[in-house]
Amino acid sequence: MSFQLDDRIEEAFARLPDYLGGHILVSMTALALGLLISVPLALLAMRRPALRQVLLGLASVVQTIPGLALLALFYPLLLAISALTEQVFGFAFSALGFLPSVLALALYSMLPVLRNTITGLSGIDPAITEAASGVGMTRRQSLVEVELPLALPVIMAGIRTSAVWVIGTATLSTPIGQTSLGNYIFAGLQTQNWVFVLFGCVAAAVLALTVDQLLSQMEIGVSTRRRSRIVLGAAGLVLIGAGALVPALQARAATYTVGAKTFSEQYILAALLQQRLDANGLRADRRDGLGSSVIFNALAANEIDAYVDYSGTIWANQMNRTDVKSPAEVLREVTKWLREQHGVTVLGGLGFENAYALAMPRERAQALGIRTIADLARHAGTMSIAGDYEFFSRPEWKALQAAYRLDFSNERQMQAEFMYPAAAAGDVDVIAAFTSDGRLAQYDMVTLEDPEQALPPYDAIVLVAPQQANNKALLDALRPLIGAINVQLMRDANRRTIGGGEDASPESVARWLWKEIVRRKRAGS
């Protein structure tokens, strides 16, 4: 190309076929399924007012559930059903990604279609339906030949609304493992790559508007009987659908899948794991941006093959432990529990800890004479604290509050990336930071000591799925990473992703990280 694109835009375009393909596939399928269910339901409800009330009520309730929550709810539900079918019928299905996304989005698409179909049909002049009976039409002929064509504009308006909703909401299917345009948004948000965030939003909007326009062409074609318009609209939709299948067809058949949670360190480490597998001839894929408990269940169910978790997370969230032991003890018990309860292998620790720690700007801490969380507790009543989305509902937070009698005047949840600048600017006083985060140094913040040891250790550990427990090639490919990354190295790596820009993608940071690992090993040996 003769003109220079920003690196990030170029990279965004490189991922477009994959992300857009996934997005189209999931939203179109969901929309088709939604239509297939809601149109007949609306017809059924036409002559049953009670059913109509119930249906519209239910659909409205579904609409009030935030899209992200609805999508997230379908994952455990399907996981349970899958476990049941495995027990009863001897087969299981993938509860990750496509299926839960399609079901949740289909449910989400129903309200506008239901409502508009019912409104459209009941808005028809009774004289017209009377005439249909009078000329000798059966109930069905009247519906198909008279009522539906007359209600079509209203029904189509509903379909178009729901198409736009579904395409927009499908960006939220990323955290449950479905590749979509949301991958840009989630990854961009984590790595502060605003080009990615914007690119994802624009791409989703363009897709939504295009589909809306094609549907509108079909509607105009039908009502004005211009076959060219119908063909144009239908051909456009078919083309989009077919386009979505291209990346799926030419996708290399990856044998392994590496998972990543929703923050930049995870993206780097997943890329690192993937690169190590690829380098050893094991073709690997990545599922980025999975929710914290989604990713663990996915591994236990063999949906993904490996990912990096933290010992304290398993300890608190999976084992529901509230006591705190030494890092070595925690790791030992976690390893034992994972093997016995889930058949999950702990390959080992990467060599650093990414623990929660309370942090505040150095200057402020010194001015107030705060060194430990116990010191902080005296000032907490007039202070506010920020944490990521899960921190305040985690057992460690309860333990911390109990141990130090912490009572802040205000608790705020925010995207982890925004906590540091918020604390630096004085919008919040204290944050629940991550010890391996490069931004602690960037914003000159101190982590407060935890003399009561209320926070458990968070050693980064490589987890391997049950079905790969004896896969020597896979284990050997990942083993060189064990104990190879100290906290300083991980902080440096994390810092490199900040702000996007050249070499800030998780892949290039992972490559840099591997070079460092090799260099240090050589220097050490």
Binding site: A127, A132, G136, L150
Partner: protein
């Protein structure tokens, strides 16, 4: 015994026998003990004030409504024993207002009942052309128009064409010419009367216009508050009826005519 009905000159095509129609478990009576028969080829006008049950009576004949008691016979058969869909396809119906389907062209509207009866494409097209000419419109320029592109009179001509498309021998008309301007109305009603005669139809028409009833119909039935208060040819009703309501009603055309000629003469 067959001889019981020998007093009838022609057998009744439509017969209502002590028919009543009530709603809300008998709370609301629309028709009360109506007995009425229409012999073949007769043109019957049903007149009466609004709410007297005229439309309900018409709807009973093609089973758009079921009677609460009594029997409705068409061609001698109790309509309850006939499939309502088949019955309606044999009976033409011209609706109040217009009742054309707005999303269908003139040709498609006319072709509905024959198509439902399974005419093939060629026969349908020929029949549509024939009918457009029969109602005195130009087939080439009307076939593919939509109802909203027609005038009120043209629409009602198409309504008539649609009603007789499948060669019914009975046509029911619910105030077919009510919403038209006087000139259009006169032309159209005369045209229809001609069709009635040439096609050998039996027609039941609702109207609240006494002039129209007297001019078009062979016989008039007067409904009031759900009861059939009188029936007969216009002259016999005028001459023999003693009921003051019927008398006033029947005298309306004449009264108008007298007032008009007086006015004209005064000029």
């Amino acid at each position: 015994m067959a001889g019981d009905r020998s007093c009838d000159q022609t057998p009744a095509i439509i017969a209502l026998e002590s028919v009543a129609k009530t709603y809300d478990d008998g709370q609301c009576t629309v028709l009360e003990n109506v007995t009425l028969s229409v012999p073949a080829r007769q043109f019957l006008a049903i007149v009466g004030p609004s709410g007297s049950g005229k439309t309900t009576l018409l709807r009973l004949i093609n089973r758009l409504t079921e009677p609460s008691s009594g029997t409705v016979r068409v061609d001698g058969k109790d309509v309850r024993d006939v499939d309502p869909i088949a019955l309606r396809r044999q009976i033409g119906y011209v609706f109040q207002g217009v009742g054309l389907f707005p999303h269908m062209t003139v040709a498609e509207n006319i072709a509905i009942t024959p198509r439902l009866l399974g005419y093939d494409r060629q026969r349908l097209a020929a029949r549509v052309d024939e009918l457009i000419e029969l109602v005195r419109l130009d087939r080439a320029s009307y076939r593919d128009r939509f109802p909203h592109q027609l005038s009120g009179g043209e629409r009602q001509r198409i309504g008539v064409a649609r009603a007789i498309a499948a060669n019914p021998h009975i046509v029911l008309m619910d105030e077919p010419f009510g919403a038209l301007d006087p000139l259009t109305r006169e032309g159209l009603s005369d045209d229809y009367r001609r069709l009635h005669d040439t096609l050998g139809l039996t027609t039941v028409m609702i109207t609240h216009d006494m002039v129209e009833a007297v001019l078009l119909a062979d016989r008039i039935a007067v409904l009031r508050d759900g009861r059939l208060v009188a029936q007969g040819t216009p002259p016999s009703l005028l001459a023999e009826e003693n009921d003051p309501f019927v008398k006033t009603l029947m005298q309306t055309p004449q009264r108008y005519a007298e007032r008009l000629s007086a006015l004209m003469a005064g000029r």
